[in-house]
């Protein structure tokens, strides 16, 4: 009997891992990616190792991409989009709008949804002047710049003072985002540590609400960031950023201990923009007839963290909730496993 095929939506970490896992079990996989190339956000991240590996996992993404490209069982459709699904669990007909403008119909048995996330448009937090000041950037932009240019100085020139602002849109009821994006505290401090290894004298400040770091040795990491790297941790999110004086930035924030208003000058401000669901999540959810949660992420069932109310549709990665690379990988492996199990049994 010919094996059923698996459709993976999204070519980021979760999608690539899901595809590789299903292919490793001998299933043919269609990987549909909206962008021009697979890799997803994580492919653009920089390595954050200083003298030691910072365990950011960014280096694993090119390796995964290489394996997907090499795998003869995986057919990748880049610049493509799912536009309709018919049939039912076990035998779907998926219509895909490919990059050549054609519509292809794919027959698949199971679908893994791994459409990832969208960073919050930082401009929506008007007070941070993201759309007005070129030196206000997002964490993702910083990652990409360091990866491509090799260093912070190569990307942004002489910088003496850098501020990281956490929770830009996360834990923010004004945006309806009653959740923590989970990964920002870690990546911001890893980036700060990386920058410290390059700029020994720069002032580095992280503005935060609560420090959300988890794991066996992450607290040690933060401790060393504070003590060895002299990174300042300021509890409290700034109120406003001004493009002043010339070419620099003034950040107004309250000293959480004394309550007094402070204004400090910075050369570069890095915003940890919230991880939010992709625009088309809702559309996709109704197409596949699966549920989303109150924040607009895909909902999984209570005791099956990759399953949906559709037995043939599985969820993996940041499209379900904010996740780091290992967590996405892990969930993708589980999702692929569940999909394969569904198709075999």
């Amino acid at each position: 009997m010919q094996k059923q095929k698996v459709l993976v939506l999204g070519g980021g970490v979760a999608g690539m891992t899901g595809a590789l896992e299903a292919a490793a079990k001998g299933f043919e996989v269609y990987l549909v990616e909206k962008a021009a190339d697979i890799g997803g956000w994580a492919y653009t991240y920089c390595c954050k190792a200083t003298d030691k590996c910072a365990k950011c996992s960014a280096c694993l993404v090119p390796q995964a991409k290489m394996h997907v490209e090499k795998n003869p069982l995986i057919t990748v459709f880049c610049g493509s989009e799912l536009i309709g699904v018919s049939g039912q669990s076990g035998s779907y007909r998926a219509k895909v709008n490919t990059n050549e403008g054609q519509v292809t119909e794919l027959e698949v048995g199971a679908i893994i949804v791994a459409t990832g996330f969208k960073p919050l448009d930082a401009a929506r937090k008007g007070e941070f002047a993201y759309d007005r000041e070129k030196n206000v950037i997002t964490g993702l932009e910083l990652e990409q710049a360091i990866r491509e240019k090799g260093s912070l100085t190569a990307a942004y020139g002489e910088v003496k003072s850098i501020g990281f602002i956490q929770c830009v849109g996360s834990r923010d009821l004004a945006f309806g985002n009653n959740y923590c994006s989970k990964v920002c505290c870690m990546y911001a401090s890893k980036l700060a540590k990386l920058i410290r290894s390059e700029l020994t004298d720069a002032e580095l400040t992280i503005f935060y609400m609560d420090f959300q770091t988890f794991g066996k040795d992450f607290d040690e990491f933060i401790k060393s960031a504070k003590e060895d790297d002299k990174i300042q941790f300021v509890r409290g999110i700034p109120a406003k950023i001004f493009g002043f004086p010339y070419d620099r930035l003034t950040v107004r924030y309250a000293n959480s201990l004394t309550g007094e208003a402070i204004e400090d000058k910075f050369d570069l401000i890095v915003l940890s923009a919230a991880i939010t669901p992709c625009e088309d999540t809702q559309k996709l959810a109704s197409m596949l007839d699966v549920e989303t949660d109150e924040h607009g992420f895909f909902r999984v069932t209570s005791l099956n963290p990759v399953g949906t109310k559709q037995p043939g549709v599985f969820i993996a990665g940041a499209c379900q909730s904010p996740k780091d690379i290992p967590q996405s990988t892990e969930q993708a492996k589980a999702a692929a496993g569940a999909a394969v199990k569904f198709l075999v049994v």
Binding site: K25, C180, D210, F211, Q212, P305, S321, E330, K333
Partner: protein, 562 residues
């Protein structure tokens, strides 16, 4: 074949990308002079399909048995040429790639120097080709039984998931019954089910499954072998029995340490930890209108589990009993899933949250508990010590690996990582993997985790095992290091150096040395790093595709200039 090496050299100009920097003619004419080079060809785009067929033909026509591809060396192309070799009936390991594009053309200008480098790189590749060896496939018989250690939620889930993939499962539990901590809690974060019902359901599913063999009061006493062929010795009531298993999952969980002395408190009914609170709640204790202080942080900072549990119970106490709940915290760690919402819900429901840095003092006074603390936010405006009175105090418990974790680690030959939890193999790749293939971790034994994370873990591990042991015979390319028994002095250096525990010392007449023994690398457990080969003092170990000869001839092919 050794005397009859016939090398074919295929140049790819990569649609001109290479030839715009390096001319092939002088290289080709040099190369042709080299011994054993029987065929040289240049083409526009070697990795095109048609070219593949052409190479196949040329291999057969010229009886070539070593192929050198001079072009680029990206992984994709290597895979393509290996397939071409296979199609031509050659072993795919008889291929030597010369990476002219990335190593020379893309990074140097056209010059005499870069031309010299290109020639040298080509010569190195040809020298390597001269020493290439075939690698065959092997069918390895494996045992498709999975041993699960620990009968808590993680163990039960893993047993069910692996059994569902057609494995025989042996589940051992050191206590007299299954359940672990699940049997002792009132509610589970992120799970709607009542723990008691959930446990009953899971235990029933496990015990009624004919392929799952549950053994309580049983511990793992010793372990031998490698993935697909472990021998495990169980100890039950002092009696040892052995079984053969193919994979092992440690799901031994955590334990909590309740230590009121750390907070200057003694043992009292109203001084409790979160585990005790769970128990009291499950037993239906009435907290109506009680005043309850909950402290979180201080020594438990590393994990978010205790924070989320504290918030969960604070909300529950507030809602169900209309209790006065004051939570003292250093950081609120509620990242992930919907826990932030739970936190805002708790605030909304009237749970009070107070931040403290270091200064907190808890005093028991005639059945009342007084918490004295300094509020860092108010320090500027309202300095001084605040006093909160409560009927109950819930203090943080330390989360440490389950008792016997270190002993188990020794038996499994795994290293323990930070805080003595099981160390995962390169943490950021996959938290379930260990340094040894065939041994996996599920649940809190590698780091305290939530029920839904346990579910994912169990599924991932079941999937991983299924991938590795999908049939009674596993076919694998025998690219693991091989041992020249005549040189092996069985010194154990490799055995001690192998980070993956993949090496065993085997005995038998087939080993033609003084000891009738030699080190052997298990093809399923070995990850082909070659550490053993470079440590071997007798130079008895060679890693296929990277043998000493293959590497040293490349050096020999280089020219020495004074």
């Amino acid at each position: 074949m050794e005397n009859n090496t016939r090398i074919g050299v295929f140049f790819c100009n990569c649609n001109g990308k290479i030839t715009e920097k390096v001319d092939f003619e002088p290289i080709a004419s040099e190369v042709k002079k080299l011994p054993k080079v029987e065929y040289v060809r240049e083409s526009q785009n070697l990795c095109a399909h048609l070219e593949g067929e052409l190479i196949c033909k040329e291999i057969t026509k010229n009886q070539l048995n070593r192929i050198v591809v001079v072009g680029c060396a990206s992984a994709k192309e290597e895979g393509f040429f290996k397939e071409v070799l296979n199609k031509a009936g050659l072993n795919s390991h008889l291929l030597s790639m010369v990476n002219l594009r990335e190593e020379c053309c893309a990074v140097h200008e056209k010059s005499a120097k870069s031309a010299a480098k290109a020639l040298e790189l080509t010569k190195m590749g040809i020298a390597r080709a001269n020493n290439l060896e075939e690698v065959s496939f092997g069918e390895i018989p494996v045992n498709r039984t999975v041993l699960v250690i620990g009968g808590g939620l993680a163990g039960l889930e893993t047993a069910l998931e692996t059994a569902a993939r057609g494995f025989k499962v042996i589940l051992i539990e050191k206590e007299d019954k299954l359940g672990g901590r699940l049997a002792r809690v009132n509610s589970i974060i992120g799970v709607d089910h009542n723990p008691a019902d959930l446990l009953e359901e899971k235990v029933k599913a496990v015990t009624s499954n004919p392929t799952i063999d549950v053994r309580t009061n049983t511990k793992l006493g010793d372990l031998d072998g490698n993935i697909g062929g472990f021998t495990a010795w169980f100890v039950k009531d002092g009696v040892e029995t052995s079984v053969e298993v193919g994979a092992i999952v440690a799901a031994t969980g955590v334990q909590t340490i309740f230590c009121p002395v750390k907070y200057g408190l003694g043992i009292a009914d109203n001084v409790i930890g979160q585990m005790k609170l769970e128990r009291l709640l499950a037993d239906g204790k009435d907290f109506t209108h009680k005043r309850i202080s909950i402290v979180i942080g201080k020594g438990t900072e590393a994990f978010n589990l205790p924070f989320v549990i504290a918030v969960k119970n604070a909300l529950l106490l507030r809602k169900k009993f209309n209790a006065t709940v004051n939570v003292f915290y250093t950081n609120i760690k509620v990242g992930g899933d919907n826990w932030e919402k739970m936190y805002t819900d708790a605030r909304g429901a009237g749970v009070n949250f107070f931040k403290f840095e270091d200064n907190i003092e808890i005093v028991a006074n005639n059945g009342e508990i007084i918490v004295n603390y300094e509020d860092p936010f108010l320090k500027g405006k309202m300095p001084g010590v605040f006093k909160v009175i409560a009927d109950y105090i819930v203090i943080p418990e330390e989360l440490v690996p389950a008792e016997g974790t270190d002993e188990l680690a020794k038996i499994l030959r795994l290293e323990l990582g930070p805080a003595s939890f099981f160390s995962v193999d390169n943490a950021h790749i996959l938290p379930e993997m260990t340094s040894r293939d065939g041994i996996y971790l599920v649940g809190s034994c590698q780091s305290p985790c939530f029920a839904n994370e346990v579910e994912i873990s169990a599924k991932t591990v079941a999937e991983e095992i299924f991938q590795k042991l999908d049939a009674d015979q596993v076919s694998t390319e025998l690219t693991q290091p091989y041992v020249d028994a005549t040189k092996c002095v069985v010194c154990l250096t490799c055995y001690r150096c192998c980070p993956h525990g993949a090496i065993t010392i085997e005995h038998g007449e087939q080993f033609k040395n003084l000891y009738f023994s030699a080190a052997q690398m298990n093809p399923l457990a070995c990850r082909r790093c070659g550490i053993c080969a470079s440590e071997c003092p007798g130079k008895a170990i060679q890693l296929p595709d990277y043998t000493d000869d293959q590497i040293l001839v490349q050096l020999e092919a280089m020219e020495v200039l004074p």
